[in-house]
Symmetry: C2
Subunit: 545 residues, 2 copies
Amino acid sequence: MSSLRIIPLGGLGEIGRNMLVVEYDGELLIVDAGIMFPDNDMLGIDVVIPDMSYVFERADRVRAIIITHGHEDHIGALPYLLEQVSAPLYATKLTLGLIKVKLPAAFGHSEDLRVIDPDERLALGPFGVSFFRVSHSIPDGVGLAIETPVGLVVHSGDFKFDHSPINGQRTEFTKLAQLGGQGVRLLLSDSTNAESPGYTPSEAELAKTLARVFGSSQGRVIVATFASNISRIQQVIDTSRLHGRRVAIVGRSMLQNVRVARELGYLQVEDDDLVPVDQVEHLPEERVTLICTGSQGEPTSALVRLGQSSLRSVSITPGDTVIVSASPIPGNEEYVNRTLDNLFRLGARVFYDEVLDVHVSGHASQEEQKMLINLVQPEFFVPIHGEYRHLVLHRELAQRCDIPRENTFLLETGDVLELDGQGARVVEHVSGERVLVDRHGLAEADNGVMQHRTEMATNGVLVAVVLINKYTGSLLGEPHLEMRGFCYPSEEETVRRRAQEAIAQVVARGGTRVELLARLEQELARVAHGETGRRPVIIPVLSKT
Amino acid sequence: MSSLRIIPLGGLGEIGRNMLVVEYDGELLIVDAGIMFPDNDMLGIDVVIPDMSYVFERADRVRAIIITHGHEDHIGALPYLLEQVSAPLYATKLTLGLIKVKLPAAFGHSEDLRVIDPDERLALGPFGVSFFRVSHSIPDGVGLAIETPVGLVVHSGDFKFDHSPINGQRTEFTKLAQLGGQGVRLLLSDSTNAESPGYTPSEAELAKTLARVFGSSQGRVIVATFASNISRIQQVIDTSRLHGRRVAIVGRSMLQNVRVARELGYLQVEDDDLVPVDQVEHLPEERVTLICTGSQGEPTSALVRLGQSSLRSVSITPGDTVIVSASPIPGNEEYVNRTLDNLFRLGARVFYDEVLDVHVSGHASQEEQKMLINLVQPEFFVPIHGEYRHLVLHRELAQRCDIPRENTFLLETGDVLELDGQGARVVEHVSGERVLVDRHGLAEADNGVMQHRTEMATNGVLVAVVLINKYTGSLLGEPHLEMRGFCYPSEEETVRRRAQEAIAQVVARGGTRVELLARLEQELARVAHGETGRRPVIIPVLSKT
């Protein structure tokens, strides 16, 4: 009998770019294909995606691509996947709607899109896949129960246990308990909030806070949140209606998501609830709510432009109230704080995570993570979706739920876990590399592009163009020195003089072209560091005429 | 009668580089001269300091420089100040000790250092300055009561109300109440924690947590904290002694501070409590504590190198316990998280802010900020030391303490507040510019160094060296193209070909040198953007031979 292979291609030991391969007998299921936001030191990079070469090499054996929910870190890499894999893509109604509107580029290649009903069962080669609904910060999310020849594998998706979700979709306890009763061999579960004790509050808890803030607001109310958080948007619209306010949606992705969610019946909004943003100035301020993007301080987002008074249609005035209904993703704090300060400077009342509970997470906290483990009672446990410390902490929770430590596996992206009748073990490692993408496509790093950017970012560049008489080998005129981002004005003259001297000495010494270039680089680096303490990228150009 | 002028040169609308000028009749007092850490987008910059030109232009009228405590954001800019101002410098014993050891460079220029006794009163021209002790995350801090011809001004320094501080130095209520009784015209107070409700816990609260973690540790215990947090270091040493552990101090600044604090009597340590780090490997693991730098994930710090297994003298093994006893300063989260993950990967138990209360702040929370206002009962109030939102929130607290709104002033760095018998008002604005400093000195930004770095950081550079026959104006050979951080390998050939074509066309069209350079830059930018979507810095070099 073959064994089952579980291969995370992203999302383990990192937050984002979630992607998992389930393989049996050479046949593959793909679960999710997401992006990750670049670290602050990935210069010029827009997003990070999984290395999919393992999948691409087996593209004709992919039975299906299954998407758990419509967040970017689960769907954003689909255009890259679908470029080389033409398997059917399964997702729930809203998820598929969001994929279609957000990733139109993905569908030049594959049109085999299939809406799943979370109560159906799919037969996909050696796999049988059923679903359980989960509550999360976007509606219509699911987890997976995958029947395989070596037993049942449960994948939590992103989940929390919300007993009063805004959209009515609770995490399906009953199905989970039934799965537990059938005997689950392996549970893969969301670790994002493994640092948080207790239970994550219900989305409905926010209603009271919103009512309080709206009730005390005389001017406009501006709410920034994630464009995908349909339930949050629903709550803000409901609260606005109760307070006699009409709602303007601001920001491209926010408008897109609201349109799709309305069309598909996931957002209960009357035309009368809404008002186009360019008509907001004609309404009394106390009759207006804005819902906008920018809760992460993204440079071109609506909230950031409101803070800079650079949004054409509307501007913040004293008396306005701003609610930033989100937590900063680590790495974004500086941008968020700058935006908050700008809003305060404009005289707005501003409510945000630090001063009021204006956000609840969409992920399970420790007690919910334990509840899932106890419902499913798996033989083996793998924490997924989290930085390394989250995975470690989640494994500790599993041990407290009586999963033996040797039955828990701390995988990182690229590790291959094998499961068969005997047990489970990590057998090998495939590439878990971070593939960097900029707006033009994949960023190939092998010519040192990233490293040069980093060096130039802190030290600048020094170009030296040296002309040599091809017969005599002597300098022709004075070398051209060009600097960018390197010297301050007061240093420039000395650096130029010393560089000229160094070049003259190198040329006088003579040598082959290669030798001359190497010596020029070395000597110019020495001069640069000696005079300024900095190490610019040195570009020597040698021309013999 | 003249009026008093209060001029913050740093620290208002920002965290760090605290510096305040108090001026009467042309005579100046300087309170603090600190650095700020650069934002993540200040490329190649090490620290940020105040623009001191206002002080430099009045250097001979500076009566005194008074330092409230020994943190970098209050003393770090002294070398730049003392370069042009030779007034006497007043600080308490420990503060002066730290200044001397940290800033030896500062004292080529001024040797007029005066230790203050917090119970004395200084007569400084038109000013009389007395002090009140404050508890903070470094010992020997003070706040100031400045008598001026227009009344009493109180400056809080950085403070909290700690009723059981480790070093026994409580914030002096009695003096504050007496000042309040005498009638205070203006209070300037620390806003850092204006977002935090309630009271900041006492430093002593940590003792229980430390005892619990030490009690459950079998291997070594590694504690990372700020090098200046002498009380924290004292607690870790005390706990270690109780648990039969000897302490190794790791990291240059930590060693320096411990030495100074011991010499001056601010740290109670026996020689026997300590062990040199290179002898740690000879002791049983359960007999060892390390105290080290790196709680902010600073790239070359001891904790970061421990996480990378690159510290020579000691390395982390499973069973070791790490306590990161600090909160990440906004902007440092990514670095801190990477370090935590690396420590987890090495198998350490890791305790940090998110999972256990292993840190308490040194700044007053809201109730303490209100308590200070109520003790001092000032006529006017100016929140200092905080980003803009902190200042706004602190002003709201003052209003709740019955300071009329019109008597509170939201100053930002550079604003000049005038106070006289009639009242107070903002009268003008002097430069509050951020002066950027790298390891070589002041970063002069006027030749676009910063902007070029930013551009090159995301888009790289394209250098084109074009040789032209000076008689015919035609191209000599093929232009040299050099790229760094710009093209990926797959794009390079096309970019080169198109750039060559563009150069040939520009040269064929002819023109003056200036015209040719401008057209080359323009056309190469067009090619680069058209082929790659990126906008590299273009450096055209034209040589006629």
